[in-house]
Amino acid sequence: MEKALIALAAALAVSIPALATAYAQARIGSAGAGTVAEKPETAGTMIILEAIPETMVILGFVVAIMLILQFA
């Protein structure tokens, strides 16, 4: 039971930030597509902006790994 709860916590640590990241990237992506259509030279900047919300899910992933390594 305890292991199942740890696994659930680790899954939530990844999945909730993943959903938030997906939402943020979708919004940035649509705005970025509009920007690139008007100013193609901003494509590089937009790709970088698209990568910024990934921090959330990466930190979530690390938290999940720590949870599993520390408690499982």
């Binding site: 590089g44 970088i48 990934e54 990466i58 690390v62």
Partner: protein, 637 residues
């Protein structure tokens, strides 16, 4: 590094103004301060601009886009033959282009009209094809057939009402003759063909008009004696139009090949002449019989410039130069000059505002840390080899400078990936271990996660502290008290935090705790001096930035696990076609993710976490007054 610039003033006599401007244009070293306000357009400028716009319009109408194919030799050859010295030359060129322009216009007009005809013929052909059998049958029975366009919803009611009307002309013994056939078009529109006896023709036509029907006819050019003849003409026209379109396209292609490069060269030369005229109007200051032209050049080419000008104009020219004062730094254009191994990394600055002349050029630091971080994320010898080959191909095969630079960056990434691959003992995941018993030199990252995470956070500490230190130096150099104090406070507080954490772990003696507290107090006092709250937020942000480097470990770990998963397919499915195919597919996916993800995240670590600590930008790019070169990447304005 940012190249040292000098301010140069070239004095000459008015009669040699044109020759000196042309020589400076040829040398292509001087960056001129041309005001952004447009020059007053003289007749010469207007004529040239009009000709340039006409030629550009012709090039675009032709659909010729190979601007990169224009060679220096082609430009040089034409430059020697055509000189835009007077409006008469411009008029002469415009006249000589007139005939081709007219021919091109006619071809394009015909093409566009044929395209329109083809579209309408296609629709008409569709309708005619649908009704052809019905029409042939009814006409052979001696009936009168007409075709109508009407609303799809009302056509059933209209037919039943028409049948009632036709009873008037039909004897009571027989049923009224009415045959019909219909097809629905989009937008609720229908085409209805009705066939009636000759005596009912007029009634039927009047009724259809009353119910809102519009008679359908084939296009005028295919109109025959009757509808069937029209359909025949339609078929003929329908097969002729694509043939004519094809021959027009072939002719346009011939024109494109023959005229495109010539027009492009002419356009380049007109742009050059316009540049010269603009410079003469806006950048040259005249005083009596003398004139002066001022600008910035890199200090390293000053000698070449003076030698060339003196050689050509001997004692009839005076050249003055000086280094810029600190008050002028904001006006000085920025030119970057880095060693060849760092130069490709200048592309990272292209996404940022141009660095200011008095700023530090971060290219060398990016060249050191970017491939190191990206390589640490990939960390696989097998992937490194593929990346190396890809980078080499990009460098060798691509003509565009941008792609060659990207190729060089990928090669650097590949070298560090191979280094980290040896450290982590990875060759296509665990394939190296299975086949040649490869062992990691440091740790196997899919097993020892915590050491890799700690290492990546350590990298973050070093990188962020380095960024803060550069910012601190920048603040000191420019006597920006707020900047240097804030950066120093950040450095002290982060150092104190690290000492405290290490002390808590028991790796340092107790006296270090006092040191940590002392450093914190000094850091907080500095923050108080520069506005406590803003500085504190900055410090917390810097700690967050350090934690962000954990992505190096996280992305690397996911890449390593995916590579192991790919190899497991062969375990599960055996050395079969499906097993090997799936393993290769996963490896390919992993490779793409590794190259794109590692590059993207390493770039982000630089843009957000590192450069944000000291880089401001807002400088002017060094754009020398130079002739167009085919070998230069040139963008049309």
């Amino acid at each position: 590094m940012i190249v040292d610039m000098v301010r140069v003033a070239v004095w000459g006599i008015g009669s040699e103004k044109d020759a000196i401007v042309e020589e400076l244009h040829e040398l292509g070293m001087l960056h001129l301060d041309i005001p952004s306000t447009p020059p007053l357009a003289s007749d010469e400028l207007k004529g040239l601009r009009l000709l340039g716009a006409t030629i550009l319009g012709m090039v675009e109408a032709l659909g010729w886009k190979e601007w990169d194919r224009i060679s220096d030799e082609a430009l040089l050859g034409t430059r020697g033959k055509i000189r835009f010295e007077s409006p008469e030359v411009v008029d002469e060129i415009a006249k000589s282009l007139e005939e081709f322009k007219r021919r091109l216009h006619l071809l394009l007009e015909e093409r566009s009209s044929l395209m329109e005809t083809l579209r309408s013929l296609r629709m008409t052909h569709q309708v005619a094809y649908h009704f052809q059998t019905f029409l042939e049958e009814e006409v052979s029975k001696g009936k009168c057939v007409s075709i109508w366009r009407l609303d799809h919803k009302s056509h059933a009611r209209a037919l039943s009402q028409l049948r009632s009307r036709l009873k008037v002309v039909t004897s009571p013994e027989e049923r009224p003759c009415l045959s019909h056939h219909s097809v629905q078009l989009k937008d609720n529109e229908a085409i209805l063909a009705i066939s009636v006896d000759p005596q009912g023709k007029e009634i039927a036509e009047d009724f259809m008009r009353l119910t809102g029907g519009m008679p359908w006819h084939p296009p005028d050019e295919t109109k025959g004696e009757d509808i069937l003849k029209s359909i025949e003409a339609l078929e003929e026209k329908f097969s002729w139009v694509p043939k004519r379109l094809k021959s027009i396209d072939e002719e346009l292609e011939r024109c494109r090949e023959e005229w495109g490069p010539h027009l492009a060269v002419l356009y380049f030369l007109i742009e050059e002449k316009l540049d010269q005229l603009t410079v003469k109007q806006l950048a040259v200051k005249e005083n009596g019989g003398m004139f002066v032209i001022e600008g910035w050049i890199p200090a390293e080419v000053l000698e070449t410039l003076t030698a060339r000008l003196k050689e050509r104009f001997n004692g009839r020219i005076l050249i003055q130069w000086r280094y810029p004062s600190s008050e002028e730094w904001h006006e000085v254009p920025t030119a970057l000059d880095n060693p060849s191994q760092f130069k490709p990394f200048e592309i990272f600055l292209k996404l940022l505002p141009v660095p200011r002349y008095d700023e530090m050029d971060p290219t060398a630091l990016i060249a050191i840390f970017f491939p190191f971080f990206a390589g640490c994320m990939v960390g696989d010898i097998g992937y490194a080899i593929i990346m190396g080959v890809l980078g080499w191909l990009l460098r060798r095969k691509c003509k565009r400078e941008l792609w060659r630079d990207i190729g060089s960056v990928i090669i650097h990434m590949a070298c560090w990936s191979a280094f980290w691959g040896v450290a982590f003992g990875e060759l296509f995941g665990d394939l190296g271990h299975r086949l040649i018993h490869m062992e990691p030199l440091w740790v196997e990252r899919s097993q020892a996660v915590l050491p890799v995470i700690s290492f990546s956070v350590g990298l973050g500490v070093v990188h962020v502290l380095l960024g803060l230190f550069v910012g601190f130096l920048h603040g000191l150099r420019h006597k920006d008290n707020h900047m240097w104090m804030e950066r120093l406070a950040n450095i002290l507080l982060i150092t104190a935090l690290i000492i405290a954490l290490v002390h808590v772990k028991g790796w340092l003696p107790k006296s270090f705790f006092t040191l940590s507290v002392s450093i914190t107090i000094v850091g907080l006092l500095l923050l108080l001096k520069v506005g406590f709250l803003g500085g504190l937020v900055e410090t917390i942000g810097a700690v967050g930035n350090i934690l962000s480097y954990v992505r190096i470990a996280a992305i690397g770990l996911s890449s390593a696990i995916l590579a192991v998963v790919a190899s497991r397919f062969v375990d599960a499915l055996g050395v079969s076609f499906i097993g090997i195919f799936l393993a290769l597919s996963i490896h390919l996916l992993n490779l793409i993710l590794a190259v794109a993800g590692s590059g993207l995240h390493a770039a982000r670590l630089h843009y957000v976490e590192f450069l944000g600590k000291f880089y401001k930008g807002g400088g002017k790019e060094y754009k020398p007054f130079a002739r167009k070169r085919g070998s230069l990447v040139w963008k049309r304005r």
